[in-house]
């Protein structure tokens, strides 16, 4: 697929998740990164270094915002205190877009600080669609919703994960952040075909791609973000670019964080795959 006038999503290029370990390197060396993604919650503080570096780095790079606490699928009421903080940060950062996960993080006023999967039922679908619509109304802009990796399936699920995600995006009229590593992890854990997942995605709504590393445990793959991207994930990424065209792509590294140079080398590989596959398609 190629970019046509009818399908002109913004293309930011190739980015990295901004991590505090790299703040000074980023400012001192201005690395060849097209954009940065920030974890929104890390900057929902009153002042000090996090916001100081955020503002300085934002002067030089485009940014997108990525949240982990919206808990869009929870049966708890939406947290408007959180949404107000998010709104204020969006105003400060002026990101190209903001995203959060198709998941829930807790009930009974508690937060498990994890991206817990939803049952893929009509009830959950209605619930999530209604809440995304409310969030988009409140913030006055569309959001990107990201597929999570998972280790369990609910007995109650009636839909596949990919049908559920597509239905959510279309009914709520939101955009999609497609995590290729998460698709790979969940395909292994639940024994489904990752390419079938890609085939079901609404191409025109995919605005961003996440790539990350994972850990192979006994009979399960765990989404740890503490390793380089694995080869099969690169292959699945190439397949995604073949299907969807060029999409803003970045590497998420959250643990065992290496020097910035290592991530830049990894990003070069991502960039060369993304550009090569796209040019082959155009040709």
């Amino acid at each position: 697929m190629i970019e046509t006038k009818a399908n002109q999503r913004p293309f930011l290029g190739y980015g990295l998740g901004l991590r505090r370990q790299h703040y000074d390197d980023v400012l001192d060396t201005r690395p060849d990164v097209d954009w940065f993604e920030i974890i929104s919650e890390n900057y929902m503080v009153d002042g000090g270094k996090p916001l100081h570096y955020l503002d300085r780095i934002r002067e030089h790079y485009p940014m997108v915002m990525h949240g982990v606490s919206l808990s869009i699928g929870s049966t708890e009421p939406l947290n408007y205190h959180y949404l107000d903080k998010l709104k204020a940060l969006i105003k400060r950062v002026e990101p190209a877009w903001f995203s959060d996960h198709l998941c829930w993080t807790g009930v009974d006023k508690l937060n498990m600080h994890d991206l817990l999967p939803l049952p893929y039922t009509e009830e959950a679908l209605d619930h999530v669609v209604e809440r995304i619509a409310r969030v988009q109304d409140y913030l006055g802009r569309q959001m990107l919703i990201e597929n999570v990796s998972s280790y369990i399936n609910y007995s109650e699920s009636q839909l596949t994960e990919w049908d559920f995600l597509r239905e959510v995006a279309e009914r709520a009229d939101c955009l999609v952040l497609l995590d290729i590593n998460n698709i790979y992890v969940s395909a292994y854990n639940h024994d489904f075909d990752a390419v079938e997942y890609l085939r079901a995605m609404p191409s025109e709504r995919i605005y961003q791609i996440h790539l990350a590393g994972h850990t192979q445990e006994k009979n399960l793959i765990v989404d740890t973000h503490d390793h380089p991207i694995a080869d099969p994930v690169y292959e699945l990424y190439a397949e995604a670019v073949r299907r969807f065209g060029r999409i803003s792509t970045m590497i998420e590294r959250d643990d065992n964080i290496p020097p910035l140079m290592d991530l830049l080398n990894e990003l070069d590989r991502v960039r060369s795959i993304g550009n090569r596959v796209f040019e082959d398609q155009v040709a």
């Binding site: 929902m44 002042g47 100081h52 699928g73 994890d114 854990n189 009979n219």
Partner: protein, 265 residues
């Protein structure tokens, strides 16, 4: 059919109490990994994630008591005080209080009566680290205040300014424990008053003499410059009061503690 709310409650209960023995028929068995093994990935990640947050927030406490004891205390805290916050930034907010409450009941805390103070010190450093920015008063601003306005002046301190009292030599313990490489230091009973703040993005702390502690606490509560001088007069010679007050103010301004002044009347 189980509704979304019920499924979420059951899932969360498993994470919080993986040993509760409840049947987990709501998870479909697929492939080689059993339902309980699959769910245990979430339960284990929950505890280890939150323990890591406490390790990051309390590096000196961790260093002081080592992995094993810290791990046990952190896990008990995680179980007793599940997070009610959207940000992990706030999860460890009552760890010092928890240590203080448990000092009489947990055997491994019995020889560590200073531990909760060390935790309180570290948490306060964290509060100063990302407190709100504010404007700063400079010496020129002070010089432009007419002499007759001084008695009624009230001082607005920056949001990053914190006061803390210790019964032990906590700040020197903290310095030794967080040095690279860490140094051993003995806990010594030593009453002291401390100021913690942030200046130019760096978190700082220093001890306070008794007269400075008194005037600082009074001014932070809204007392006027005149009230402050009276409290200084209770501590030092009457003739030295204005010199001392002027010296303290100059120091506070240079250290970036004062945001603004207003006239009380």
């Amino acid at each position: 059919m189980k509704h979304l709310g019920e499924l979420q409650s059951r899932f969360q209960n498993f994470i919080l109490q993986p040993e509760n023995g409840e049947e987990i028929s709501w998870v479909s068995g697929a492939g080689q990994a059993s339902s309980s093994y699959r769910l245990s990935v979430y339960a284990n990640a929950y505890v280890s994630r939150l323990k890591e947050v406490l390790e990051n927030d309390y590096p000196a406490v961790h260093m002081a008591i080592g992995d094993e004891r810290f791990g046990l205390l952190a896990e008990r805290y995680v179980r007793q005080h599940p997070s009610r916050f959207f940000s992990l930034r706030d999860f460890g907010y009552r760890f010092a209080t928890y240590l203080d409450e448990e000092v009489g009941t947990i055997a491994l805390l019995r020889d560590l009566p200073w531990l909760s103070e060390l935790a309180q010190f570290e948490w306060t450093l964290g509060l100063a680290f990302d407190a709100a920015e504010s404007m700063l008063l400079d010496e020129q601003d002070m010089a432009s205040i007419p002499a007759d306005a001084w008695p009624a002046l009230q001082f607005e301190f920056c949001p990053c300014v914190y006061r803390i009292d210790h019964k032990w030599n906590i700040p020197s313990m903290w310095k030794s424990l967080t040095a690279d490489p860490p140094e051993t230091v003995e806990a010594i009973r030593m009453h002291g008053s401390w100021l913690i703040w942030r200046q130019n993005m760096v978190t700082r702390f220093r001890s306070l003499d008794e007269d400075e502690r008194l005037i600082l606490d009074l001014l932070r509560r809204g007392g006027t410059f005149n009230d402050g001088c009276e409290i200084l007069a209770s501590q030092i010679d009457q003739e030295s009061v204005s010199m001392r007050a002027a010296g303290l103010l100059k120091g506070w301004i240079r250290q970036g503690l004062i945001a603004d002044v207003v006239r009380a009347y």
